[in-house]
């Protein structure tokens, strides 16, 4: 064939030479965003699954058939059955119940660490982008420094020093993702800052705070939202990794990463012990990633955010 394949994704753009009407800055319009998302089946399904996972985490004690440490003596390492859909572990505990109960740990650490990274990173990005000059230089160099460490290793080091446990895991994961939010926010701010209307309001004498809340934040929001979804995926992954390494919650608390670490020893006898908690992680992470991609298509067509996986 001589016809070159052409991107199916970009058919409708007007030829680049035609003057494009000066577009209003993309403000997130919630109704519209939700509507568009609903028309993106992958993202919509992911959102629904995520809501279900959150519900499971909230109502875990009601939903789990057994308590986290209820043992079924004589029924150790049983394959999946009606009584134990995900089988049992070496103490005869119900793997299904423990997977359900582990959701809360994963999500709590995930949400809180991303919240930390979001608040701190956005603040740093805002300051750097808005005030420029030495503020920008100092803060962004600092972010570069943080960025130079492999994410998991940095988190491990922080936990190693502060001691194991959920609070320190949150801090560790949060710190790792601060630079990403700072960069995304700063980039948005720089874009917005140049826009005519900001210059206009500045000359009228609007205060910095007003500028930030009225102009900069609403415009920086779309990429930040996308980044949040993607970062949640990696926070859940990182939490699992830390738990897997014994740097998260302590036994016998139910935790997906910890279950994988324990199940590893029984891999020859009991595949279900590692397969189901792992799938729980995969599904959660996958949904956050897919939702992030969907949100990006809707909110951030110019792709200002890192592609999923970029922050790993």
């Amino acid at each position: 064939m001589t016809q070159l394949p052409t991107p199916g994704a970009t058919p409708a753009q007007p030829p680049p030479s035609e003057p494009i009407p000066a577009a209003a800055p993309p403000r997130p319009r919630w109704r519209e965003t939700l509507g568009l998302l609903a028309r993106n089946p992958t993202a919509a399904v992911s959102a629904v699954v995520l809501v279900l996972i959150v519900l499971v985490a909230v109502f875990d004690e009601t939903l789990a058939p057994d308590g986290p440490n209820d043992q079924d003596p004589g029924r150790q390492l049983q394959p999946p059955s009606w009584a134990h859909p995900f089988g049992t572990d070496e103490f005869g505990r119900d793997v299904f119940s423990r997977v359900v109960l582990g959701a809360a740990t994963s999500l709590r650490v995930g949400f809180l660490s991303v919240a930390f990274a979001l608040v701190v990173g956005t603040l740093i990005g805002l300051l750097a982008g808005f005030y420029g000059r030495w503020v920008d230089d100092t803060l962004m160099r600092l972010m570069d420094v943080l960025f130079a460490f492999p994410a998991v290793l940095l988190a491990i080091a922080i936990v190693a020093i502060r001691g194991a446990g959920p609070a320190n895991a949150i801090l560790a994961i949060g710190i790792v993702y601060v630079p990403i939010f700072a960069r995304v926010t700063r980039a948005s701010v720089l874009g917005v800052r140049e826009e005519v209307y900001v210059r206009a309001s500045r000359s009228v004498g609007a205060s910095d705070w007003r500028l930030i809340t009225r102009h900069v934040l609403p415009n920086a929001a779309p990429p930040i939202i996308v980044q949040t979804s993607i970062s949640l995926a990696f926070a859940v992954l990182a939490e699992a990794a830390l738990s897997f390494l014994g740097l998260g919650p302590r036994r016998p608390n139910p935790s997906w990463g910890l279950m994988l670490a324990d199940g590893r020893g029984f891999i020859e006898q009991a595949w279900w012990y590692t397969v189901f908690p792992g799938l729980a992680i995969v599904v959660t992470v996958l949904c956050f990633n897919l939702l992030g991609d969907g949100l990006r298509d809707v909110l951030d067509p110019r792709q200002r955010t890192l592609m999923a996986g970029g922050g790993r």
Binding site: P5, P7, A148, F149, L154, A157, A160, L245, V275, V282
Partner: protein, 301 residues
């Protein structure tokens, strides 16, 4: 500049420890002499700024202190482990590229085809799968059920080349899949972008054969930035290596760092963290240099 920041951060790691790091490391049974010797050797008795300068000064000359546990120099420990980690990282990168190039190119050249959909699904999964879980699953299937490959360990290349390769395959796959997925998506999107570029139309209008248009005007342009992305991924691979090494008992830096965490052997941890950061910075530097050589837009201006 970044390097100085990195060194300060690594240095301060030990001071963020709650309590006396040496006491923590030594546990309960140790002699006062051992304690004093360690304290002096690690310079922890000096004032902070002086400590940093001494530490940094020594670090520049390659002296990263001694292990609280074994008394060996950290540099020796790291030197011993570094080759294994680099081997694994490079192997993983190969795996990543072997997955990503064909998959990314095919899906861009045939958008919405079966390959494209497959690539999308595979890369989404690849990005979402925890590498340590993937490691376990690989062991379950290839070492357990199929019994084709050993479940871990390490033998040196010179002693047993086949054994070396057999032990390298699974960890390399486990580490490489994530990067492979990221690169697949990158290759796809940058090829799509290159395909839609105006200059491709100019090339077609010249009557140049399709194959030539694809190689010189699409792929060349699409793959130039791949150098950067691959470099960045190599740096990220090092992060993945840490956990995968532990699962496969691969005697690299990741394992060393993990062991140091368990033993509270802070100088070793510091050394390992510093080295990872160094490698990251060096890779980024090399990538920038390389890129500026191959992209005429940068090298000529």
């Amino acid at each position: 500049m970044v390097l100085a920041g990195v060194s300060v951060l690594v240095f301060s790691l030990i001071h963020l420890v709650r309590g006396d790091p040496i006491r923590l490391a030594l546990g309960t049974r140790y002699s006062q002499e051992t304690y004093d010797a360690l304290r002096e050797r690690s310079g922890l008795d000096l004032p902070l700024v002086e400590q940093y300068l001494t530490w940094a000064g020594r670090a520049v000359t390659g002296d990263l202190g001694v292990s609280f546990r074994s008394g060996e120099t950290v540099t020796a420990l790291i030197a011993e482990r570094l080759p294994a980690t680099l081997t694994l990282a490079v192997a993983a990168l190969l795996v990543a590229l072997v997955i990503a190039l064909p998959l990314g190119l095919l899906s861009a050249l045939h958008p919405r085809s079966f390959v494209d959909r497959l690539a999308t699904v595979v890369s989404q999964f690849g990005i979402s799968v925890p590498d340590f879980w993937l490691s376990i699953m690989l062991i379950l299937v290839f070492a357990g059920t199929l019994g084709w490959l050993p479940s871990g360990g390490y033998v040196s290349l010179t002693e047993d080349p086949l054994g070396w390769l057999q032990r390298l395959v699974l960890p390399a796959i486990a580490t490489g899949v994530v990067s492979g997925s990221v690169i697949t998506r990158f290759v796809r999107s940058s090829t799509l972008e290159a395909l839609g570029a105006d200059h491709v139309r100019t090339a077609q209008a010249k009557g140049v054969p399709t194959r030539q248009v694809l190689t010189w005007h699409v792929l060349r342009n699409a793959l130039l930035p791949l150098v950067t992305v691959t470099g960045v991924q190599l740096a990220y691979l090092l992060s993945g290596v840490v956990v995968v090494e532990i699962v496969f008992s691969w005697p690299g830096l990741g394992q060393l760092a993990y062991q140091a965490v368990r033993d509270r052997d802070f100088p070793v941890l510091q050394g390992a963290v510093l080295l990872f950061a160094l490698v990251f910075l060096v890779i980024n530097l090399l990538v920038d240099l390389l890129y500026s050589r191959i992209d005429p837009r940068i090298s000529r201006s």
